[in-house]
Every structure is written in structure tokens, then in C-alpha cells.
């Protein structure tokens, strides 16, 4: 499923790029054509569960992006350990792993401030450790796919340093709970 989604995103990127090159004037020679970024940061996710309680998670994320002109494709990975309620006799611990691929389009790819639009998708996998007295079991959950769209800004300082912030709306599983909002903040290197 994960491979399917990533390949779809790649395909979409190619298609989108093909469409855009038919409309957009090719970059001038002095502008950077290829670009890359390596970032780390925090992804804050806000969503409401079915009882309307706000659920907030803040896993650390890593991303690697490769760009061509106005387009950039980014692979992201984040993981988080979170311990839920329980006591010494009965408790549950979960860990979540999120892998995704995003395509972004920036109208001004060579300027210092680069606003962009993005879309993409990925999978979220939860593993659970459940304990009853001295017995502990670990279970890997299914990979749950999601898709999303976003808007963000990249800022490049001192030629190689990049700060990126983005707001995304992510629809996981198409549940009636509604979409989640993700607020990303990351820093790293840009080439």
C-alpha cells in the first residue's frame, strides 16, 4: 500500500510537471534548476476524535527533498512514542510511524522567501505493546493511508540554511471524524 501511494504521488508529480511545462515559461539560465533540502523538525497534528476531544500529537520528523524548477518532491518520516493510561497490572504503550511523500510547487523557487503549495500522501502505522501482569504482547497495526494538501513557506538564509513552515490538511481513512490539521516547522540544509 505504501509503495502504491508513493508511486502514485510520483506519477502525479510527473503529470503535474508535464502540465505545468506546457504553460509555464522555462526558468532563465541564471536561476537554479535543481535543488535539494535535508530538514528535521516537529510536526504538530491537531484532530478531534468522535467525542470532539482535541487530540494533539507532536512527533519529530525528518525529510529529504529534491527539486526541479518550481517543483519539489519530498519524502518525510516521523515517529513518536506515547504512553497511555494504565497501571502496573494493565497498561498499553503505542508507537506511531508515519511515512509520506509530498509534491510542492513554488512560483518563486529562487527567491529567499518561497511560498509553495503542496499535495501528497503517506501511511501511518501504529504498533502496540500491551501488558497484563508479567505478560507483554507487541502488535503491529495495518498501514493506514492518508492524503493531504498544504500551504507553506521556505526561507533560505546564508545560502545553505533553510527554515520551512507549512500547514496541511490531512484526511486519514476518510472517517467521519473529519480531517486533521498539521503544522510543520523544520530547519536544515538547502542546496
Amino acid at each position: 500500500m505504501k509503495l502504491k501511494i508513493i508511486s502514485l504521488v510520483l506519477l502525479s508529480a510527473t503529470a503535474g510537471f508535464a502540465a505545468s511545462t506546457s504553460e509555464i515559461v522555462a526558468p532563465t539560465p541564471e536561476k537554479k534548476i535543481f535543488s535539494a533540502e535535508l530538514l528535521t523538525g516537529i510536526t504538530n497534528e491537531f484532530r478531534r476524535d468522535e467525542t470532539q476531544n482535541l487530540v494533539v500529537t507532536s512527533p519529530q520528523s525528518y525529510s529529504l527533498g529534491i527539486g526541479y524548477g518550481s517543483w519539489m518532491i519530498t519524502g518525510e518520516r516521523s515517529s513518536q512514542d506515547r504512553r497511555f493510561s494504565g497501571n502496573t497490572s494493565l497498561n498499553v504503550t503505542t508507537a506511531q510511524k508515519d511515512e509520506s511523500a509530498w509534491v510542492s510547487w513554488a512560483p518563486t523557487p529562487s527567491s529567499q522567501w518561497r511560498p509553495y503549495l503542496s499535495f501528497g500522501g503517506g501511511t501511518l502505522k501504529t504498533s502496540v505493546d500491551s501488558q497484563i501482569d508479567s505478560e507483554k504482547i507487541s502488535v503491529e497495526g495495518k498501514e493506514l493511508p492518508y492524503v493531504g494538501v498544504g500551504f507553506g513557506v521556505r526561507a533560505v538564509f546564508l545560502r545553505f540554511f533553510e527554515i520551512k513552515t507549512e500547514i496541511r490538511i490531512v484526511n486519514r481513512e476518510f472517517t467521519e471524524v473529519g480531517p486533521a490539521v498539521r503544522l510543520l516547522g523544520s530547519v536544515g540544509f538547502s542546496l
Partner: protein, 418 residues
């Protein structure tokens, strides 16, 4: 044309992504649901097992025709008032439901046991009242004090309440024996208390009290209602003290039967004679069933206890435990004699018990103003209901029954020298 092609290509990625996720629109709960839950084993310990849930319609909301579950509810009118549960869970590669937090794990375990207890009710024909209202982490106060580490059944609301559990031991909502114990109170209500309330009101010694009072007292043997009933038993009329004593005695005997047989039911359901200590180890000595019984208290013993004003709850449990240990010991003896499987023996015991409760109810209904219910009432009806009682079993009961006329040994036992 070129412009149109470009626009279509821009839309293409969204089409692909939506198509790939189309199947996610199908929201179907697997039926039956398999869930990995902490489940009791024969040695009394708990291990994770895959449990089949056949009546669960919606896992996330624990929707089923058998129970209405509420989180942090309060008793309201004839039911409960609170929000419905929302479970956090994942499914493994085989579709087995795995709760992802401790609360969800407790709720699903509680539901699973209730479904199994429903199956047991069907098998035994208990006439218990389903669907059942269930409160998880219920807000319940006794006087000014918030009740914790307990579970109770309220007949007027047909509700099983699990109040917040703060101990480091097995939560009560996961303890199969405790759930079986509380569920038995609903069976006892249906078998013994319901319908006998109105009959009891006809007798003179109860006339000083209101219908509402009796509905509370006999409609629920809940400890939580103790303060209310005490307030209302205050009366200045002549002979009030005697009436109060008789009422207190009757309540205590009935409550003793109820609590003792609820513990027995917990054992019948789990095959664990010490199910209570997994959650409340401080009660191990007082409540475990695999110890030798003691002489059964006579009516005079019980009257004396009440006159000396020992704690009413402790009195009821002590008396009830005498009974539960006596019947558990009998079941062991019978299994040994007949060489039957443990499960089959427990089922036979459950049937005998249910039959004997009918006899107790009939006796309560037939009580006259100057009569009291014998503390041996349940024993007499139980022994009478045992199919093909053996001389050895007769001697067993005779050993633990005091030499009193209250013990009415059945015909087969009378042929055996005591």
C-alpha cells in the same frame, strides 16, 4: 486543445489519489469481531487471548443490542446519563482488534465478558434482564464521599456501575469474576426481589415505610443506598424498634444470599475460586471460596449480630461467604463422586442454585406478619433442588448445618443417620 489537456493533467494526480483510497469509503465492522484481550485462565492468571465477539455492531462505539455502555455516567431516572464510549484501536494483519489505550482495553474486555455472561444466561435460562445499562468510571458518591475501587448493580436503573479504580492491581472492569458477580445481582433481582416487593408491602410490620423506600431497599441491595434507608427507618410509633430489627434482619439475610451467591456465580463463570484477589488482594482472606466452610449462622445468630450493631455490609458478606464456600465445597465433592468435568459440574450447580432461588422467593412472598425468613431458607431450597443427592452429600450439609430445626433435610437425607 493544448490548454484543456494541461488542465486535465493537473487534475490527474487528485483523481489517482482518490481512486486509490476508494475502498476506504467502505466502513464495515467485521462480523464476528475478534479482539485480543486479557482473559482469565484456569489457574486464575490473565493472559492475552483472541476472543470472538458475535454481537458487537460497532467496535469504536461499543454498540450492541445487549448493553448500553456509558462513560463517567450518573444514575438518571430508570437508566444512566452520560456519554457513549469511543474506543481507540488498531487492527493487526488478520483484522484482530487491538485497543491502543488502557481505557479502551478495559471497556472492550468488560463488553466481552458481558457477552459471554449473556451466553451463559441463555444456556441456563436465568431470565436476567437484557439489555443492561453499564457505567464505566461512573460518578457515584456515598454521602459526601466519592466511591472508588468498587462495582455495583442498581436494580432500579438495571445498571452495572464500575467506579474509578485507583489500585495498582487488575482493574475491576477486566476482572471476569467481578463482572460475573455484579451480573448475578441482576439475576437475583429478577429471580427473588422483583415482584416480591409489592407482596411484602401487605404485611403489617412493613407498613410504616413508603413504597419508594421498599423499592430502593429490595430493588437494590447496593451498599450505596445504605444511608438513605437508614434515614427512613426512623419511626416513633409503638413497636417501631422491633419492626426495625425485623426489617434489618430480613434485609441482611437477603443481602447475604445475594452477595454470597454473586461470589459463587463469579466462580461458576471463571472457575477461579479466588477471583477477587486479582483486583482487591486485601479481600482475599474474607472472600476466597476454596477454603473449608464454617457452621452456617442460624436465624438467632443473625438476630444477635444485628442487635450488637456490627457493620451491616460486613455482616451480609460474612453470611454470604458462609453460603458460597458451603456450595462451592459441595460442588467439589459432587464432581469427585460423579467424575464429571469441572465445567459440567459448575453448570449443574448453577441450575440447582437458580431453582433454589425460586423457592426462596416463594417463601418471602408467603411470609406472614409474625414470621421471619429463616437464615437456612436458601440451604433448604438448595438441598431440595439437588438431583439425586447422595448419602455422602447429605452428611456434608449436615456437618455444616447446626443442629437446629431450621435445617430441613430432604427425604433422601433423612434416611441417612446424621
Amino acid at each position: 486543445m493544448r490548454e484543456l489537456t494541461g488542465k486535465l493533467l493537473i487534475l490527474l494526480p487528485f483523481f489517482f489519489i482518490l481512486s486509490a483510497c476508494e475502498k476506504l469509503f467502505e466502513k464495515a465492522t467485521p462480523k464476528p469481531v475478534m479482539a485480543r484481550l486479557p482473559w482469565p485462565t484456569a489457574d486464575g492468571s490473565y493472559h492475552f487471548q483472541d476472543i470472538e465477539l458475535r454481537q458487537l455492531k460497532d467496535v469504536a462505539h461499543l454498540q450492541s443490542d445487549l448493553v448500553s455502555i456509558y462513560e463517567s455516567p450518573v444514575p438518571f431516572q430508570d437508566g444512566l446519563s452520560g456519554s457513549g464510549p469511543y474506543l481507540q484501536y488498531i487492527q493487526d494483519a488478520d483484522g484482530v482488534v487491538i485497543p491502543t489505550d488502557a481505557k479502551s482495553l478495559q471497556l472492550l474486555s468488560l463488553y466481552a465478558h458481558l457477552e459471554k455472561l449473556y451466553d451463559l444466561d441463555l444456556q441456563l435460562g436465568t431470565q436476567a434482564s437484557w439489555p443492561l445499562n453499564v457505567g464505566f468510571e461512573a460518578n457515584f458518591t456515598r454521602g459526601e464521599e466519592k466511591v472508588e475501587n468498587n462495582a455495583l448493580y442498581i436494580a432500579s436503573n438495571n445498571a452495572l456501575l464500575f467506579v474509578p479504580f485507583q489500585q495498582p492491581d487488575l482493574p475491576l472492569a477486566v476482572n471476569a469474576g467481578v463482572i460475573g458477580h455484579e451480573h448475578f445481582h441482576s439475576i437475583f433481582y429478577k429471580k427473588v426481589l422483583e415482584g416480591s416487593v409489592e407482596q411484602l408491602l401487605e404485611y403489617q410490620f412493613l407498613e410504616a415505610h413508603t413504597v419508594a423506600f421498599f423499592k430502593r431497599v429490595f430493588g437494590s441491595m447496593s451498599a450505596a443506598l445504605e444511608p438513605m434507608s437508614k434515614e427512613e427507618t426512623v419511626s416513633t410509633e409503638p413497636g417501631a424498634e422491633e419492626k426495625k430489627l425485623r426489617l434489618e434482619y430480613l434485609r441482611n439475610i437477603i443481602r447475604g444470599f445475594n452477595e454470597g451467591m454473586a461470589d459463587l456465580w463469579g466462580w461458576i463463570y471463571t472457575d477461579n475460586a479466588d477471583f477477587i484477589s486479582a483486583s482487591l488482594p486485601q479481600m482475599k482472606t474474607a472472600r476466597k471460596l476454596d477454603v473449608l466452610p464454617v457452621l452456617l449462622s442460624t436465624t438467632d445468630d443473625k438476630m444477635l449480630e444485628i442487635a450488637t450493631k456490627r457493620d451491616p455490609i460486613e455482616r451480609a458478606y460474612n453470611f454470604g461467604t458462609q453460603y458460597s464456600r458451603l456450595f462451592k465445597g459441595f460442588s467439589d465433592l459432587r464432581a469427585k463422586r460423579l467424575g464429571t468435568e469441572k465445567q459440567a459440574t459448575r453448570m449443574e450447580l448453577a441450575k440447582t442454585l437458580l431453582q433454589s432461588l425460586d423457592g426462596v422467593k416463594a417463601e418471602i412472598v408467603a411470609l406472614k406478619a409474625d414470621q421471619t425468613l429463616s437464615s437456612y431458607s436458601l440451604l433448604n431450597h438448595f438441598v431440595e433442588a439437588i438431583p439425586e443427592i447422595s448419602p455422602e452429600e447429605c452428611r456434608y450439609f449436615a456437618t455444616y448445618a447446626q443442629k437446629t430445626a431450621e435445617f430441613k433435610s430432604p427425604q433422601p437425607c433423612q434416611e441417612t443417620p446424621r
